[in-house]
């Protein structure tokens, strides 16, 4: 981020559109469509935001929907709602209740999500904490510690639909992995704990493997240290 650029605030109430640009704080209450790239320090939104270009921002606070056609680059994301990125996403620190949908790769240091996530490429996070609220999927998941569990409140709020709250991936790799209700082809890691409701073809592990009695692992392999 170039500090020499003069940044001004942008405040939008109601329904409006903007060409985008460089701002300090952007506050949207209502609906706003940005037709170009947006670069700002803070994005504070209640309602709907559409960005036709890329979004570069330090801090996002959202309630509502945010749809970005291009790439999202941010330091932190907080709030409730649905975030869609069409060209990849990188956010250092995510704490969200709602949904994330990424076409491309999704990268984060910390990702804590209660809700639904859909990533077409790699979901890469140092610490991934997912509480499933619906059907989730990613092509590949990689990272340090990965925990995928069914949300308890979700199960209470939507009785009878619990079977939809699951995660599907082709490959999951990490140092510590804890999974529930996950379907995957291959899981590789240091210590792997397979909770209830999983179906996994191959698990390769180094230190530890626990399998819940309601889960199936067709091919567990311990690797030499």
């Amino acid at each position: 981020m170039n500090p020499a650029i003069l940044r001004n605030d942008l405040k939008i109430l109601g329904t409006s559109s903007s060409a985008g640009g460089t701002f300090k704080d952007v506050k949207v209450t209502g609906e706003c469509t940005f037709t170009g790239d947006v670069d700002c320090l803070k994005l504070n939104q209640t309602g709907e935001v559409r960005v036709k270009g890329n979004l570069v921002v330090q801090q996002i606070k959202m309630t509502g929907e945010c749809e970005v056609k291009g790439r999202v680059d941010a330091a932190s994301l907080r709030g409730q709602g649905q975030l869609t990125a069409g060209g990849g996403l990188r956010i250092e620190d995510v704490k969200l209740t709602g949904g994330i949908k990424v076409t491309g790769d999704c990268e984060a240091e910390q990702l804590q999500l209660t809700g639904v996530i859909e990533v077409s490429g790699l979901l890469n996070a140092e610490k991934l904490d997912l509480a499933l609220f619906g059907p989730c999927r990613a092509d590949t998941v990689g990272g340090g510690s990965i925990s995928i569990k069914r949300s308890r409140t979700g199960a209470l709020l939507k009785p009878g639909q619990a079977k939809n709250m699951s995660f599907a991936a082709r490959l999951i790799e990490g140092d510590q992995i804890e999974l529930q209700h996950t379907q995957a082809q291959t899981v590789r890691g240091g210590s792997v704990i397979i909770g209830p409701g999983c179906g996994i073809d191959t698990v390769e592990y180094r230190d530890l493997l626990e399998i819940h009695k309601s889960s199936t692992v067709r091919n567990p392999v311990q690797l030499q240290r």
Binding site: R90, E126, G142, G143, G174, D175, Q185, R188, G190, E204
Partner: protein, 209 residues
């Protein structure tokens, strides 16, 4: 063109790093996206890396990660090799065991022992030394290799080069080409060795800094 590849699992076994570290370095762009090569195998899709380059890079990161933050390291690694402002003298190369002292005596003219060498010059020495130590060249061939590199490597500039060392009926010769060139030979030719400047530079960078 079939490069020498290493699978992700082998890489982890060989270097002792973990999945977490690998993904962290990928996130921090310490390992370029292009090095992740997807291939289908009988167990499904697997990720492979160019062997020499990734091993050099991993060594480099492991050595440096205690002194520098990953972000600083990422900044350093993204500099192209030619900008790598290292000047070492022959005696420093010997001390730090980057090029063996036998090769240094052969190629390094004693009168310039204290002159700083550029990265490219060191790379040429390193290339000759590397093939010698693998036992693929004899001394005469190494001399010729070194001369070829000295004469022609600068002409390739930023793009780098690939070197082919081939033998036929006991006669050996070198060829240089742009990286990725698909050269074909007649049947009697044996490709003894193939070197790319990018691979060498990666290994050398790790040792120099």
């Amino acid at each position: 063109m079939e490069d020498d590849l290493i699978s992700k699992k082998e890489l982890l076994d060989e270097t002792g790093i973990s999945y977490g570290q690998l993904y962290r370095w990928k996130r921090k762009q310490l390992i370029p996206e292009e090095w992740f090569i997807r291939k289908s195998t009988f167990t499904g899709q697997e990720t492979f890396f160019p062997r020499a380059r990734i091993l050099g890079r991993v060594q480099h990161i492991l050595q440096k990660k205690d002194d520098l933050s990953l972000d600083e390291l990422a900044g350093k690694l993204s500099e192209p090799a030619s900008l790598y402002r290292v000047g070492l003298t022959l005696s420093q190369l010997r001390e730090r065991n980057i090029v063996s002292s036998i090769s240094l005596e052969r190629f390094g003219r004693p009168e310039i022992a204290e002159i700083q060498l550029t990265f490219e010059q060191i790379l040429n020495l390193f290339a000759a030394d590397w093939l010698l130590s693998k036992g693929e060249l004899n001394w005469e061939e190494a001399d010729r290799l070194y001369q070829t590199l000295e004469a022609h490597a600068p002409g390739y500039g930023e793009k780098g080069w690939e070197l082919f060392f081939v033998r036929k009926m006991g006669v050996s010769f070198f060829m240089m080409a742009l990286p990725g060139a698909g050269l074909a030979f007649d049947e009697g030719v044996r490709l003894v060795s193939r070197l790319s400047s990018a691979d060498l530079a990666e290994q050398l960078k790790g040792r120099l800094s």
